[in-house]
C-alpha cells in the first residue's frame, strides 16, 4: 500500500445534526483491487460512498481519489469514477440505448466513441436484444446490468458499487459477480458495499468493516478469518462487528 493507493481517506466524518453517520474513518484503496466495504445496516457505508462520489460534503476530514481532493476537485474526480447506486437510477421512459447515450453525453464522451462504447457494453452485458427496450420494461437483473453499463460508459478507473446484487435472483447475482471480476481483470478499481459476506469473501482482495460509523478493521478476508479464529468471513464479520450476542439471542428466541 502507499504510493499505489488510488483512494485515500483520512479522518472522514459526516454529521447529520447530532448524529454521526461516519466518524473519523481512515483507509486506503489500492489501484486495481476489489475493496469491500462491509457493515450492518446504518453503519455508514452509503454515506461514505456518497461523500467519495461528491453527492454530499463531509463535515470533517478529507479524501483523495487519484491524488485529487474531493472537497476541491470533485468535478475532475467524477470524470474518472463510475457509480452504481443502490437503486437503478436511469430513466424509465428512455430506451436502453438512449439512457446510455444520455449518460455518455453527460460525461463528455464524443459521439463516435460513445456509439462504439455503447455497442461494446451492450455486447459485454448481453443486452443487444434490449437496445431499444424502454428501461421500465426490463427485469430487475437487466436494470442492474444497464445501470452498471451506464457507470462504465466513460471507461472509469474506479467504480463504486453500492449493494449491486441486493434483490437479484441467484442467476442474475452470479452474472453480476462475474462482471465485477471482469472489471478487476480490466484494471478497474472496484469499491464494493454488500450485505452478502460470502459475496465479499469471493470477490474482495481486502475488506473494511464498518460499525456505527467507525472502521473496526481493514484486511484481507484470509487474514480476518485467521486473526479471529473463524471458519469463514461471515463468522469473522460477526465477531468483529460484535453481533455474536445479538445473533445468539435471535437464535434462542427462534427456538422458543
Amino acid at each position: 500500500m502507499g504510493s499505489d493507493s488510488i483512494i485515500e481517506v483520512s479522518d472522514l466524518t459526516k454529521f447529520y445534526r447530532d448524529f454521526s453517520a461516519v466518524n473519523h474513518i481512515n483507509f486506503k484503496v489500492n489501484g486495481g483491487e476489489i475493496f469491500g466495504f462491509l457493515g450492518p445496516n446504518g453503519a455508514g457505508k452509503t454515506t461514505t460512498i456518497k461523500i467519495l462520489t461528491g453527492l454530499i460534503q463531509p463535515t470533517e476530514g478529507t479524501a483523495t481519489i487519484q491524488g485529487k481532493d474531493i472537497r476541491t476537485h470533485i468535478v475532475e474526480i467524477k470524470k474518472i469514477i463510475g457509480v452504481v447506486t443502490e437503486d437503478s437510477n436511469l430513466y424509465d421512459e428512455l430506451s436502453v440505448f438512449d439512457n446510455l447515450r444520455f449518460v455518455g453525453q453527460l460525461y463528455g464522451v464524443s459521439q463516435g466513441n460513445r456509439d462504439k462504447r455503447i455497442g461494446e457494453l451492450l455486447k459485454r452485458f448481453d443486452l443487444e436484444s434490449k437496445r431499444e427496450a424502454k428501461f421500465a420494461t426490463l427485469s430487475k437483473g437487466m436494470k442492474r446490468k444497464v445501470t452498471i453499463a451506464a457507470a462504465l460508459i466513460h471507461s472509469p478507473q474506479v467504480v463504486f458499487l453500492d449493494e449491486p446484487t441486493t434483490g437479484l435472483d441467484v442467476l442474475s447475482a452470479r452474472i453480476l459477480r462475474a462482471m465485477i471480476k471482469e472489471l478487476k481483470a480490466l484494471g478497474v478499481t472496484v469499491f464494493l458495499t454488500t450485505h452478502y459476506i460470502e459475496e465479499a469473501a469471493q470477490l474482495c482482495d481486502r475488506v473494511a468493516i464498518l460499525v456505527n460509523g467507525t472502521i473496526k478493521t481493514v484486511d484481507t478476508p484470509g487474514n480476518l478469518i485467521a486473526t479471529t479464529n473463524s471458519k469463514n468471513l461471515e463468522e469473522a464479520f460477526i465477531e468483529i462487528t460484535g453481533l455474536k450476542e445479538e445473533i445468539m439471542l435471535v437464535d434462542k428466541e427462534g427456538k422458543r
Binding site: L55, K78, D87, N89, Q105, L106, G108
Partner: protein
Amino acid sequence: MFKEEIKGSLYIALKDLKMYYFKPPNLSWGIMFPIVMALAFILRNPSGVKDLASGLIAISILFAATSAEAIVIVFERRTKTFERLLLAPLSLQAILFGKVIGGVIFGFLMSSIFLVGSVIFLGVPFSNTVFLLGSLALSAFVFSTFGTLVSVAVKEIFDAMTLANFFRFPMIFLCGVFIPVSALPSFLHPLAYALPLTYSVDLIRFFITGSYDIVHPAVSVVVLIIYSTVLFYLSVWVLKRRIEK
C-alpha cells in the same frame, strides 16, 4: 471546462424536453389554458384584443415555462434519477441551468405559437420582431427559474403544483394581464410591482402596442434579468441544502 458545462446543460435540457415537456398535460397548460382565457375575454370584448394580446402571450409563457419545470426536479428526486445528474462531472449550477433551459425553450416555443396565432387570426400588430422575441425569451427565463425554485423547494409533486399555483393565479390578476396595473387600486400597486409577470407583460406590450403601462422597457429588462439571476442562485442554494439533508 465552461464549454463542457454548457454542453452538459444542453443535453439535460434536450432530455427533459423529450421526456417531460412535449406531453399532453404540459401542452394543455401551455396552449389550452391561455387560449381558453383569451376566448373568454375576446368574446366579452372583441375590440380589446390588441390590449389583451401582451398579457395573454405573457401568461402562455408563465404556464408553459413553469408547468413541467415546477415538477421535474421533485419528480426526478423521487425516482432517484436526479442523483444520476448529480453524479455527472457537472457543477450544480450547470445541472440546474440545464433544467432551466428546458423550461425556457418550451416557454418560448409555446408563446411563439401564441404570438403567431394572435398575429394571423386576431390581427395583432407588433413593432420589432427581434426585440419582441427577445422579450419572450427573457420572460421564459424568469418563469423557468421560478419553476425551478418551486421544484427544489418542495418534496412532493402535489406540493409543487400547489406552491406554483399560489403564485401563478394571483399574478394573472395583479400583473396587468387583463387590467393594466395603472388601473388597479393603488393599494395593490406594491404587490404588482413586486411580481415579475408585471414587467413581462409591460415589456411585451411595448413591442405590440408601442407604449408601456408602468415602466420604460429598459427598466423591465433589467428587473427581469435581476429576477432570473436571483431566482436561479436561490434555487442552487436551496438545492444544496436539500441534498445535504
